[in-house]
């Protein structure tokens, strides 16, 4: 058995796409407990979070052949898989209705809009460039608020900032991202 413990997430995920179970086991060890933590933060009860994390990892196996390391880092792709597992299974809302995922669905479709083609071509590198325009403080606020679902008041306390500052900084950070894309559009 090859030692895969030192492999990067992206190479492992590409191997899973080829049907490599050992690579899958390594990714499971790295990500299943993170996915479970994310689901708990979204409000899933512990038993549901455990089940859904398993479902998400199963979905990772099934969908891995669509993974393209040029388009997304592994953690982005796994996040989308996990979020969709939450929408799809717990709420039983049809995920294709609410999220048109350029990362997961197949590359080509008939009658594809030019916009979609442009987004398919969007690379992880461009994502990085957009994120790099944010200051560290702004990034921190974005992360704390939208990912951890904490009230703004708690974030303000943690960062030792006035509540109004947190709110406006969050707005600024996100608007700055939008401005970045507007320039590219």
């Amino acid at each position: 058995m090859p030692d895969l413990g030192g492999e990067g997430d992206e190479r492992l995920l590409a191997r899973v796409g080829q049907g490599d179970r050992e690579a899958f086991a390594v990714l499971f060890a790295r990500f299943a407990s993170k996915v479970k933590a994310y689901l708990l933060r979204l409000g899933a009860p512990p038993a549901v979070a455990e089940d859904l994390a398993q479902e998400a990892m199963l979905s990772l196996w099934r969908r891995a052949s669509s993974y393209d390391p040029a388009k997304a880092k592994a953690s982005t792709w796994i996040f989308v898989i996990a979020r969709n597992a939450w929408i799809d299974r717990l709420r039983r809302e049809k995920v294709e209705l609410a999220y048109r995922d350029s990362l997961i669905v197949s590359e080509e479709s008939d009658g594809e809009a030019p916009d979609d083609a442009a987004i398919r071509e969007q690379t992880e590198q461009e994502m990085r460039a957009a994120l790099d325009q944010l200051s560290e403080e702004q990034r921190q606020v974005v992360r704390l608020s939208f990912f951890e679902e904490r009230p703004h008041s708690e974030i303000a306390e943690q960062l030792n900032l006035p509540l109004g500052t947190v709110k406006s900084r969050l707005r600024l950070a996100l608007i700055k991202l939008r401005a970045h894309w507007e320039r590219l559009a």
Partner: protein, 205 residues
Amino acid sequence: MSPLHHPSADILAAYTSGALEPGFGLVVGAHVDMCALCRRHTRTLESASGDALASLPEAPMGAGALEAVLKRLGDAPVAPPRADARSALARLPLKPRRWVAPGVWVAAVDTPHAADNRVYVLSVARGMPTARHEHSGAEFCTVLEGAFRDENGLYRAGDFAAADNDVNHQPVVVGDEACVCLFATEGRLRAQGVLGRLAFGLANV
């Protein structure tokens, strides 16, 4: 034409993270579907979410979780689904349309949502008044076809509007086409006027 009215940054962030209530996520999704700018923005937020996921403290999986999943893997990974190229309106599972006035129909969206919320499509022909109503919480709306105007401006196909306890506005349909909008409304609707009572009472949305 690109939409001019977008979800606010925090709404889009909540949508991306999966935190919006069912139904409300659908309305944002309908906008994102028609808005290249917001699709790019969503992808950036997904990338930030990937970083956040990787740095979360672990919530350990139960004993034997890996073995249980390995048993279910099956053979090779399967081909990903093809993108559904139909419009947001064509993809929505709608319950039967109820005509509530000449040129006005409403149809509930057959999707799970909180018992107190309403998720529906409302179509209003040119020249018809829209149903004035109040609600106790937020309301999200994406225009699917046609256009309307209110005191905030002109809303065309793809445009998104969010209102919070907003009572006193009555949009007017603009142009020759019927205006078809997808709504998610939090809390019980309290219809005002005859048309409102018809739309939200008889049509059972």
